[in-house]
C-alpha cells in the first residue's frame, strides 16, 4: 500500500504559473497554501492580490480572491475583513507595491491593528515592469532606472519596512524570512503560520517579509541569484522576528 506523503495543497490551484525559473514566488505561494490548509481555514479565507508579478495570484490560489489597485491591498483587505470579521484575510504584495506606492495603506492598516495578514515579498526590484529601481533596491544596485547604480545622495537608503512597522503597537507579529534553503523554508513556513494564527486569535496586524530572488531582472542564473541575495540582501535585511505574538499577548 503506497501512502501519499507529499502532494499539492488544496488551497493551491492545479495550474501552471507564469513565474520565471528561479523566482521564489512559487515556493512562497505553496507555503501560504500549506499553512491555510493546515489551519483548516480554506473555506473562510479571502486573499487580496496586488499589482506586480504576483497580480495573477488570484488564479493560483483556490480561494475567493480580490484583485486590488497598486499599493491598496491593505485598504481592500480592511474593507473585506470589516464585512467578514470571522473570515481570514491576507494580502500578497511585492516591495514596489507595499513600500512605495502603498506605504500609507500598510502603515495605517498596521496602526489600526487590522486583523489581516500581509505576505510581503521583497526582491529589491520591480519585476513585472522589467527591472526598475524599487524602494528596497540596495545602494549601488544597477536597475533599468538606476543604470549607474542606486545613488545614496539622490535615492536615499532602501526602506526596511518590517523595522518601520515594528514601531507600531497595532503590528502584533512581524518577521523577515527567506526561502533560499530548506532550513529557511521551514522557518518561513513557521513564521507564516504564526502570522495567520495572530490574525485568527484576533490579536492584531501581522506581516511576514520574505526575501526573494529575481533572476530575470537581476540578470543572473537562479544559483547566482541565491548567492547574491545571501551576500547583499541578508546583511541589510536581517532575518528574524521583529514583533512576536507572545510579546503581543502580554
Amino acid at each position: 500500500m503506497a501512502e501519499k506523503v507529499f502532494g499539492r495543497p488544496e488551497s493551491l490551484a492545479d495550474i501552471p504559473t507564469h513565474y520565471c525559473p528561479g523566482c521564489h514566488h512559487g515556493i512562497i505561494h505553496r507555503l501560504v497554501a500549506e499553512v491555510i490548509d493546515e489551519l483548516k481555514v480554506m473555506d473562510k479565507t479571502i486573499g487580496i492580490a496586488s499589482v506586480g508579478c504576483s497580480v495573477l495570484a488570484y488564479d493560483y490560489f483556490n480561494l475567493d480572491m480580490v484583485q486590488a489597485a497598486h499599493g491598496r491591498a491593505p485598504a481592500v483587505a480592511t474593507g473585506v475583513k470589516r464585512v467578514h470579521p470571522e473570515g481570514v484575510v491576507f494580502t500578497y504584495q511585492g516591495d514596489g507595491d507595499i513600500a512605495a506606492i502603498g506605504t500609507a495603506e500598510v502603515v495605517h492598516a498596521a496602526a489600526r491593528g487590522e486583523r489581516i495578514t500581509t505576505i510581503f515579498v521583497n526582491n529589491a526590484i520591480y519585476g513585472m515592469t522589467g527591472g526598475q529601481m524599487a524602494p528596497t533596491s540596495l545602494v549601488n544596485q544597477v536597475t533599468t532606472t538606476s543604470p549607474y547604480g542606486r545613488k545614496l545622495e539622490s535615492a536615499g537608503m532602501p526602506i526596511r519596512l518590517t523595522e518601520m512597522l515594528a514601531t507600531l503597537d497595532g503590528a502584533k507579529y512581524l518577521a523577515r524570512v527567506a526561502v533560499n534553503t530548506p532550513a529557511n523554508m521551514a522557518k518561513a513556513k513557521a513564521a507564516i503560520k504564526k502570522a495567520f494564527e495572530t490574525q485568527i486569535a484576533g490579536i492584531g496586524f501581522s506581516m511576514v517579509e520574505v526575501l526573494s530572488t529575481c533572476p530575470t531582472n537581476w540578470g543572473m542564473t537562479p544559483i547566482e541569484s541565491a548567492a547574491w541575495m545571501e551576500k547583499n540582501m541578508m546583511p541589510y535585511y536581517p532575518l528574524g522576528t521583529y514583533r512576536s505574538g507572545e510579546e503581543a499577548a502580554k
Partner: protein, 355 residues
C-alpha cells in the same frame, strides 16, 4: 408614516443610508461634507455597523471596493478634491462591476478651490472621471427630502446594476436644513453569489477583478459594460419638468441651481414671459429625450450652472442645433442670485440673447 424632522442634507443622506441597510461607511473628513462623516461616526455604531475613518480618500474608496467585493451595502462621501483622489478606485469599481454609493458634496474648484458650493465636477461625475470606458449612475437631488429618498434609491440601483452610484450634491444642499421624513425601504438587497465571502463549500472560487491581459477578452468585457450602460440609459433616466408645457424659454438646471431657478421663473412669469424648467435628476443617464421633445415648442434654452459651462455640452448635444442654447453660470463657490438669472431670462425674451 414617520414624522417630519428638520435636518441638514448631509445628515439626511446619512440617515437614509441606514434606512437602506448600509452598515459600512469609509471616509475622510473634508468640508463641506463633514456633517455626513460625523453623522455616520455617531449613527453606525448604534446599529452594529462599521464606521472607519481612513487615512486618505484613496484608502477610503479602496475599503469601499473591498467591502463591496465582500458583498455588503457600502458608502463613502467626500467633496471635490477628495473625489478626485477617489477616481482610481472608482475606475476599479467600474471594471469589477461592484455596487456602492459615493457622495460628492461639490465645492468650488479647480485645485484646493474654495469651500463654498460648486457644480464644476459635472464632467468628472458624468463622463467617467477615472481611466477607461465606464459610467457611474449620477443622481442630482435638489432638496433635503429628495436627498433622503434618492439615497435609498441609490443603494437599490447600485445593487440592481452592479454599478457605482454617485449622489452629486453641493455645499449648499449638504448644509441647508429642511424638513424631511424617512420612508421605509421596500426593496431587499439581492443575493450576491459573485461576492468574495470565502468558499464555504462552494466548488469554484469567486474572483473580483478588472484585469484582462488578453485584449480580445478586455474588449469583450467592455462590450458587457457598454451593454449594461445602454440598458441603464433606456430604463433609469429621470427628470422633472416645471411649467414647460407652454414655455418659450426653458431653463435647464439641476441641484441647488434648479431651486434658484424656481424663484427666477416665478418672477419672469409675473412679468409675462413664458418660461419653465427642465431639471435632470439623473445626470447620467442624461435626459436627452425630454429636451429633444421640447424643441418643438420652446424657442430657446438657458443652461444655468455653478460652473463655467459643463452640462451645457450635454444640452447642446441633445438639442443638436434645433434651438439656441444660452448659458448663465457662476463659479468658484459663488451662489448665483435669482435676480441675475431673471435678468438673463428677460434678455433672452427680448431677443437680446444671453451670455
Amino acid at each position: 408614516m414617520a414624522e417630519k424632522i428638520l435636518m441638514k442634507g448631509n445628515e439626511a443622506i446619512g440617515e437614509a443610508s441606514v434606512v437602506a441597510g448600509c452598515r459600512h461607511y469609509f471616509g475622510y473628513p473634508i468640508t463641506p461634507q463633514s456633517e455626513l462623516i460625523e453623522y455616520m461616526a455617531k449613527r453606525l455604531p448604534q446599529v452594529n455597523g462599521v464606521f472607519l475613518q481612513a487615512e486618505s480618500e484613496i484608502s477610503a474608496i479602496n475599503m469601499v471596493y473591498g467591502a463591496a467585493a465582500a458583498g455588503c451595502r457600502v458608502m463613502t462621501s467626500s467633496s471635490s478634491p477628495g473625489i478626485s483622489l477617489k477616481q482610481e478606485g472608482i475606475s476599479y469599481i467600474a471594471g469589477s462591476q461592484l455596487p456602492c454609493v459615493i457622495v460628492n458634496m461639490q465645492r468650488g474648484g479647480p485645485g484646493l478651490g474654495s469651500i463654498q458650493p460648486g457644480q464644476a465636477d459635472y464632467f468628472q461625475a458624468t463622463k467617467g472621471g477615472g481611466h477607461g470606458d465606464y459610467r457611474n449612475i449620477v443622481l442630482a437631488p435638489n432638496s433635503v427630502q429628495e436627498m433622503a429618498d434618492i439615497t435609498i434609491d441609490a443603494f437599490d440601483l447600485a445593487d440592481k446594476w452592479r454599478n457605482a452610484v454617485m449622489i452629486l450634491g453641493d455645499g449648499a444642499l449638504g448644509q441647508m436644513m429642511e424638513p424631511v421624513e424617512f420612508k421605509e425601504s421596500s426593496a431587499k438587497p439581492p443575493e450576491k453569489p459573485w461576492a468574495a465571502t470565502g468558499l464555504h463549500g462552494r466548488k469554484t472560487h469567486n474572483v473580483i477583478n478588472s484585469l484582462f491581459l488578453q485584449p480580445d477578452l478586455m474588449e469583450n468585457h467592455n462590450h458587457v459594460l457598454q451593454a449594461k450602460y445602454a440598458q441603464i440609459q433606456a430604463t433609469e433616466t429621470r427628470w422633472e419638468s416645471l411649467q414647460t408645457e407652454d414655455a418659450d424659454i426653458v431653463v435647464v438646471a439641476y441641484g441647488i441651481t434648479s431651486r434658484i431657478a424656481q424663484t427666477a421663473i416665478g418672477k419672469a412669469r409675473a412679468a409675462g414671459v413664458k418660461v419653465g424648467i427642465l431639471r435632470p435628476i439623473t445626470l447620467w443617464p442624461f435626459p436627452s429625450k425630454p429636451l429633444v421633445d421640447l424643441c418643438s415648442t420652446a424657442k430657446a434654452f438657458i443652461v444655468f450652472e455653478m460652473s463655467a459651462g459643463q452640462m451645457i455640452e450635454d444640452v447642446k448635444l441633445a438639442v443638436n442645433g434645433a434651438c439656441p442654447v444660452y448659458f448663465h453660470g457662476r463659479t468658484g463657490g459663488m451662489l448665483p442670485t435669482p435676480k441675475e438669472l431673471y435678468e438673463n431670462i428677460m434678455n433672452v425674451a427680448r431677443g437680446e440673447g444671453g451670455k
